[in-house]
């Protein structure tokens, strides 16, 4: 019941934002991922890191776990809201 309520709330907020022409990431919960080429990536509005290795970085987010795979991955900047990655990025996926 609580999960259903939470899911409904999750679906309402982006809809409300869309109605007033605001981007969905403005609700502060949905992760915002920016990829520049295959060398640089920034993930905003994450919930913490799960795993950091040179080949794989996994992050918690509101929509689930974000998995970034590649080689020579380096976390160049990290704070409680955003994380910047550099290296050779091969794939980005959600678990």
């Amino acid at each position: 019941m609580n999960g259903k309520h939470k899911k409904q709330k999750r679906m309402i907020a982006p809809a409300v934002l869309g109605a007033v022409d605001l981007p969905p990431e403005a609700c502060g919960r949905i992760p915002y991922i920016t990829v520049t080429g295959d060398r640089y990536m920034k993930v905003e509005q994450h919930r913490g890191i799960l795993q950091v290795t040179a080949e794989c970085v996994r992050l918690y987010s509101e929509v689930g776990i974000i998995r970034i795979c590649g080689s020579r991955l380096l976390v160049s900047d990290m704070d409680n809201e955003s994380i910047s990655l550099s290296g050779c990025i091969k794939s980005v996926g959600f678990e």
């Binding site: 520049t36 290795t53 704070d79």
Partner: protein, 395 residues
Amino acid sequence: MIFAEQGENSDYMWNFISGYVKISILGQYPERLVNRALNAGIPIKDAERKSGACFVCRIPMRRFKSLRVCARGSGCRVHILKKGGLPLLMIKARREPALCLCALLMAAVMAAASSRIWFFEIESRDYPRASAESTLASFGFGPGVKASEARPADIEAALRRLPGVLTAKAVRRGVCVKVSVTGKGGSAQDDPGQASEGASGIYADRDCVIDSISVTSGRAVVSPGEAVAAGQLLISGDMTALKPGYYVPAEGEVYGRLLYRASASVGRYGTELKRTGSYARAYEFRALGRSLLPGVPYAEYETERECSAVINACPLPLTVWACRCYELRQSQVDLGDRAAGDRAAVLAQEKLFDSITKGARILSVHTEFSVSQDGGVTATLTATTLERIGTGKGQ
């Protein structure tokens, strides 16, 4: 990526100013401590996992104590690998007050000295240099004068007051002022109406056809397309046509097209090394990039390798080649018009490029061949170049 690099550069500068600490986090699950640090508001940079249980990152120096607090109960140990930044340098500097004081003193002296003029370089044409120096000294323009009191316009005005001075120009370069003075020269010293003899000018140093003329100061006497001879005036500083007694130092760039010519002859019959037909077998030994071919009975020979074997029994890797050495002898050959012409052109080209001035831009090269009665071939190369011509008077 470009934005990322720019951001990193400004980030590193800020990190250096605020001070940073490079740490290693050892534990089974270092991500737990990283998450605690992020929740505590500690920014983490350049994080990477070095091995299974070792995590290396950089944090601001002032947040290290907070990280220590976060590390309690996380199951991880934190070690400092490196400290860096301006606060660290300040701490080291505090231990050597004399060095800091001297550095500050030097900086203050340099700042004070840079606001004054210390060198006056005087270049004079047709005017005694000592007179110009004494005039400047009498007006207070000497080493150590403040830059605000020694403006180039004031220096020029002071020198132009002298009766024998035609033009004066002063340029400031940092703590040095370069002054160029041109005197009226010859009999025109007393009669300004005939001062054109003493006016500065740019003259052609070689015969050429003018390609372009760009005047910075003075007036152009020639125009593009005109043929000029060496010593001819190109830019004149005589501006009396605009205003009686008005002279300026002639300055500008003049480019002209010049012709260079070179020729070389080669006889029809030449000598070449040719095989005589006889050959001898020999063995070539190669090791460490060097080769040895003993026992060849010819003075000049050509080698053809047939087969090889590598000897591994030696301390150095040794390759042995079985070769045929063909005897060569000088023999007279009929080069033919084409080959003789090519050789003559190569010789003529070497002569031509040796004669062309360095820095000249070659526009075109034209080759002509002629055959003499005895069959020899003469190649004549003509090159058109674009060069800067013109020198100031007195240079």
